[in-house]
Symmetry: C2
Subunit: 359 residues, 2 copies
């Protein structure tokens, strides 16, 4: 088994069949396949088809109920609270984000707090749906525990990503899609495979002290010990602003779990009643601030000036958030999506199990 | 002249008189005095009465027009766009935030984009006004340029603070009020006075490379050279997430300047037509997500669990954002506000100039 390049549609179709094999109904399988393959196409394989392994575990572990339909537990002209009923994260998120966009189209703003959902993929995929309708898009989610608060050492918070997408004239939206932790766990796994020490500022050990020992940390992380975990953006203590990153991570949980009366990160994947993942979405129309086209143009002019500002020695480009992913996608649509050896094997194993035609 | 402790009301009254001396009408003077003294009471002197010096420069330099009234340039049931007409930042912000809160009370959500304003003090003071009405409060502002984008070296963005306040039952709101840069400039000035090197991750030099040379940086920062400046949260490059902090700083400018069609950080304090500072405010009612009291209780229970989680070795407390400031305020209301020698001298000089009774 070796690395392989696969066309977008072929990979999406194959992924959808794998998900059907896992018990997903057609609608749930199709949207989840799209969300996973989009991440791969954008150069974010940590949220791509390699996650099928995790998705299988979620079904087998009783954390996700593939056929569950979300229900609305509260609704106003500017909001909806959704119970995902332990359903598929992408399917539930699509339902909630559509509501936000529809409400924002009518009233100017729409928000959705969602409880009892599951992994929703790349946050940006939801936020950009609003941006495509001339709205500011927002998407937040809590996750499985992995991160510690400033001055703490216990894993109580998730990577808790936040995303804001803002439309601009003549180009892709500004799209800030970031884990509030310094790095996602996938990056530590890459360092482990390459036998490298981590930079200080990524994680702490069981005493709550910064460490660069990748292998020691990985052992601790997957042990029963509740201590030792990821640091938030800004790192350890307050000198480099770690308390700010921790605040952003906590904010995400207060929006997702707080507003939905759902479970916060510490209590996700507890017991046998779903993973309890919670999300928060928002859509705010540009037209509530005046002429949308004029605003989009102004946003574009600001971003152009940022891009043209003086560069640090040795650097040849200042990036705007969302550009790297959009360029990766453009390339992938032409040349196909590169899958590493491990992912090809995972897909192939599923193919054998569910009798899906080879990639 | 030496350091001094002054009672809250006395300091507020004195500050208001100084502002009247600078040409502020009574209403503008009173609210600005309150905003400055509140910052001192909360242990945030960088936004306190020591700023009167800067406020005087803003009036003398033609950046602020103390008697200007804000005007509404666009309005919907969920939004308002305000032109500050170069007026006083606190006065303009009070006007805009009241509109947000009023709209959120009626429709569930209210947003304000504000252009042509001035320094608005601590962001948290505006966001907490919404939290006091059972709403999620948001406040953002751009500022004078000081910060560089990832891979850049030119000062094009401000400290661009963001603030979210979320009500909780039985206590002060969760209040994340943070500059998106690693540190505010005031912190570098403290290091300069103490003749200390800065940690790497705070700033870059004229080549765009990280430096810990405090004096060299200060000289560069106040020179005509456009290069060298503050790093955003996460520091230099991408290894520790500097691109995320840069994204947050840029987001703040897109909300403030983008939505108001105002000036972004790079163009603040340009020419003779006001400072051009822009803000963005938001208020979202908890009741659009269900029973507000139940949500406040849930928020409180999450924060309690965070506070009680395992602490790092040698640490005796995990803080919730907003607690330090609230405790400092409680102490200051009992014992008075401590002013350092330099600030006492500044106030005393104003007192002599405007014939205000001694502190």
């Amino acid at each position: 088994m070796s690395a392989k390049t696969v066309q977008y549609d072929k990979l999406k179709n194959y992924t959808s069949q794998v998900l059907k094999g896992l018990g997903y109904p057609k609608k749930q399988a199709d949207i989840t396949a799209e969300v996973l393959v989009e991440a791969d196409a954008r150069g974010v394989p940590s949220h791509g088809v390699a996650r099928l392994d995790f998705y299988e575990k979620n079904v087998k572990g009783g954390f996700a109920t593939p056929a569950a339909e979300p229900s609305v537990v509260h609704e106003t002209p500017v909001s909806v609270v959704v119970d995902g009923n332990n359903g598929v994260g992408s399917y539930v998120s699509d339902f909630a984000m559509r509501k936000c966009i529809e409400k924002a189209g009518k009233t100017g703003a729409g928000f959705a707090a969602v409880r009892n959902s599951n992994h929703f993929g790349m946050a940006g995929l939801w936020a950009e749906k609003a941006a495509a309708k001339d709205q500011i898009g927002m998407a937040f989610t809590n996750t499985r525990i992995c991160a510690i608060p400033t001055f703490g050492k216990q894993r109580i918070l998730g990577t808790n990503p936040l995303c804001f997408a803002i439309p601009r004239e003549g180009g892709i939206p500004f799209m800030l899609d970031m884990a509030t932790t310094t790095v996602a766990h996938g990056k530590i796994e890459v360092y482990e495979r390459r036998d490298l020490d981590m930079p200080l500022g990524w994680v702490v050990d069981e005493k709550g002290k910064g460490t660069s020992d990748t292998k020691g940390f990985q052992k601790l992380f997957w042990s029963k010990c509740p201590d030792g975990g990821h640091l938030f953006l800004g790192g350890e203590g307050e000198d480099l602003g770690g308390h700010k990153g921790y605040g952003l991570g906590l904010l995400v949980d207060l929006l997702c779990a707080g507003m939905s009366l759902g479970r916060w990160s510490l209590h996700t994947f507890e017991g046998n009643n779903g993973s309890g993942i919670a999300h928060f979405f928002g859509a705010v129309g540009l037209n509530i601030f005046g002429n949308a086209k004029e605003i989009r143009r102004h946003v574009a002019s600001i971003l152009d000036e940022v891009r043209k500002s003086n560069r640090a020695e040795g650097e040849d480009r200042i990036f705007i958030h969302g550009e790297k992913e959009a360029e990766a996608r453009e390339k992938a649509m032409k040349e196909g999506i590169e899958l590493d050896e491990e992912t090809v094997k995972l897909l192939d194993d599923f193919g054998k199990k569910f009798k899906i035609e080879g990639l």
